[in-house]
């Protein structure tokens, strides 16, 4: 008894194959759709902003007057933020990763901390803003200065740095540390001389990616409270500040009042994206150049 009618099957075959080939193009289009949007975004930003970028814009002070506004203050603000974020996250992040991977025994405590870290990675950035506002700005009374903003951003990216550092530690083959222990090295000596150097490229890559995330973060800063107009340059971590993303935020909002502000926002975006692009390129180079083959 034949259930399958081969003629029928053949008839249907064509339409099935056409469907497959057609959808293949749809799927391809879906894949590059994001890239098309990205291109649209870049074109728009370049179109609006490129004309604004000149020496005076990059080095000048903020102004309400679009024609003489500059973003040096925001650039310096971002740099000062990073002066807080980088040491804090790198030290605490790598320290945490070392502790979790190499000192803490597998077990309940370890899994609690691990779960905690992955949960922290999913907490919206605005909630970190509130934490920063409550703890750093108010309870510790730093005010809305670089230090408060930097610490807030540090907490925000800490989980990312920790996870990346953990992964690079795990990627160091066990037999290297065994060789070191086998020679009478202590744990810290082994970590310092064998594990850290081998894991470092991965840690650096992960940290750079996390830091570029921090550079673009806006929401926590809006909560901490950044003045809409702050002309002087920040000169230290106890100064008030503005930062590139905050400037983009204010200029975008005010673009309905003063049209040229939209161009200033776009120009600032170009600068921000350029910084991120450079950072990411460095991360890629570090990863490719120092990747160890064991």
């Amino acid at each position: 008894m034949k259930y399958i009618d081969i003629n029928q099957v053949q008839q249907r075959m064509n339409s099935r194959i056409v469907k497959n080939n057609f959808l293949k193009y749809i799927f391809f289009f879906a894949t590059i759709l994001g890239l098309i949007v990205l291109a649209a975004l870049l074109i728009q930003v370049l179109y609006d902003g490129l004309g604004v970028i000149d020496y005076q814009f990059l080095t000048g002070r903020l102004s309400t007057e679009a024609s003489r506004a500059g973003i040096m203050g925001a650039i310096l603000g971002t740099l000062w933020l990073m002066a807080v974020v980088i040491p804090v996250t790198v030290i605490i992040g790598i320290g945490t990763a070392l502790y979790l991977e190499l000192y803490l025994k597998r077990g309940r405590t370890q899994s609690i901390i691990q779960t905690n870290i992955s949960n922290l990675a999913g907490v919206p950035s605005i909630v970190y803003g509130i934490l920063g506002l409550t703890i750093f700005v108010r309870a510790m009374d730093f005010g809305n200065v670089v230090l408060a903003g930097g610490l807030t951003l540090s907490l925000l990216i800490l989980p990312i740095v920790v996870v990346a550092a953990q992964e690079s530690i795990r990627a160091v083959p066990q037999h290297l540390s065994e060789a070191s222990y086998g020679m009478g090295a202590t744990k810290w000596q082994t970590i310092r001389r064998i594990i850290l150097p081998a894991a470092l490229p991965g840690m650096i890559t992960g940290s750079i990616l996390a830091i570029s995330r921090a550079i673009g973060e806006t929401a926590p800063l809006t909560v901490i409270g950044i003045p809409a107009l702050l002309i002087p340059f920040p000169e230290g971590i106890t100064d008030k500040f503005t930062a590139l993303p905050m400037q983009i935020y204010y200029w975008t909002l005010d673009s309905t009042l003063v049209d040229e502000y939209a161009n200033l926002a776009a120009a600032t975006i170009i600068v921000l994206l350029l910084i991120l692009f450079i950072l990411n390129s460095i991360a890629v180079i570090v990863r490719n150049k120092f990747q160890q083959r064991y």
């Binding site: 009478g184 090295a185 001389r193």
Partner: protein
């Protein structure tokens, strides 16, 4: 299971005993990996350990420098005396022990550093900072490991550029640099080609002048070729321990015979 080394212990023995294992038992969690091991290992001899896969050879070797502790679930009972001192005691400093007892692993595992830094690593961690002294140590160790001529012009190059056999001899040089008394070797030639293997074997035999060597090997011919004494492990027990010649020509246990004639394993 009684152990066949008793005869051995009773004969007059001109050599000092470097390791004395007494009723050693070891568990990985529930797995009873070593069962009532009793072994006395002599100074300046090559002791081979043979046996089928999973019989506990590596575990025993790693117990001798307490490397086995790196597995968190390990428990031991019994005792190992190194030069008369009990080493299983938690108060015994493992770093000290491991400085005296070097180890060479199955897969060559140089550090991802230069050839020079690989050899200087041990002396450095033990506090030797003087450049000239280090240079001398590196040269001497590389010479002792029969690899100086091959690498003397590439001391600054990464060790991963060396061939497998060179890497393994480099690892031996690295161990020699801290001048241990004992060298533990866990199948040091199993990842090497025949020519490299031969070179390493030759080196091992030369080293025995100054060092006590314990070598785990899958390769019975190798054990027969280079060792003075051989222990045959099976299922975590020592079935037989004797002069290598005796053990291979005239084994006293049926299972040893079956194993060395290739009937299982």
């Amino acid at each position: 299971m009684s152990i066949k080394e008793t005869d051995q212990n009773n004969t007059p023995n001109p050599k000092n005993i470097v390791y004395d294992t007494q009723d050693l038992n070891l568990w990985y969690g529930e797995t009873h990996a070593l069962k009532n091991i009793n072994l006395s290992i002599n100074e300046k001899e090559i002791t081979a350990i043979i046996g089928p896969s999973g019989c506990g050879k590596s575990t025993y070797l790693k117990t001798l420098n307490r490397m086995v502790e790196m597995v968190p679930s390990v428990r031991t009972s019994g005792d190992i005396k190194y030069n008369g001192k009990s080493i299983l005691d938690r108060s015994f400093k493992v770093e000290d022990l491991r400085t005296r007892v070097g180890m060479v692993f199955q897969k060559p595992n140089p550090f991802p550093k230069s050839v020079y830094e690989n050899v200087a690593y041990g002396p450095k961690i033990h506090g030797i900072r003087d450049k000239k002294t280090l240079d001398e140590i590196v040269e001497k160790s590389l010479k002792d490991a029969f690899i100086w001529d091959e690498v003397k012009d590439r001391l600054k190059e990464n060790a991963y550029g060396l061939s497998g056999g060179q890497q393994q001899r480099l690892c031996i040089a690295r161990t020699l640099a801290i001048e241990p008394d004992v060298i533990l070797m866990d199948e040091p030639t199993s990842a090497l080609d025949p020519i490299s293997t031969l070179k390493v074997e030759e080196l091992v035999q030369n080293l025995k002048e100054n060092y006590s060597i314990i070598i785990v090997t899958h390769n019975m011919q190798q054990a027969a070729r280079i060792s003075d004494k051989t222990a045959f492990f099976l299922n975590g027990e020592v079935v037989e321990f004797d002069e290598t010649e005796t053990l291979f020509s005239n084994p006293s246990d049926k299972r040893t015979e079956d194993y060395i004639t290739g009937r299982f394993g």
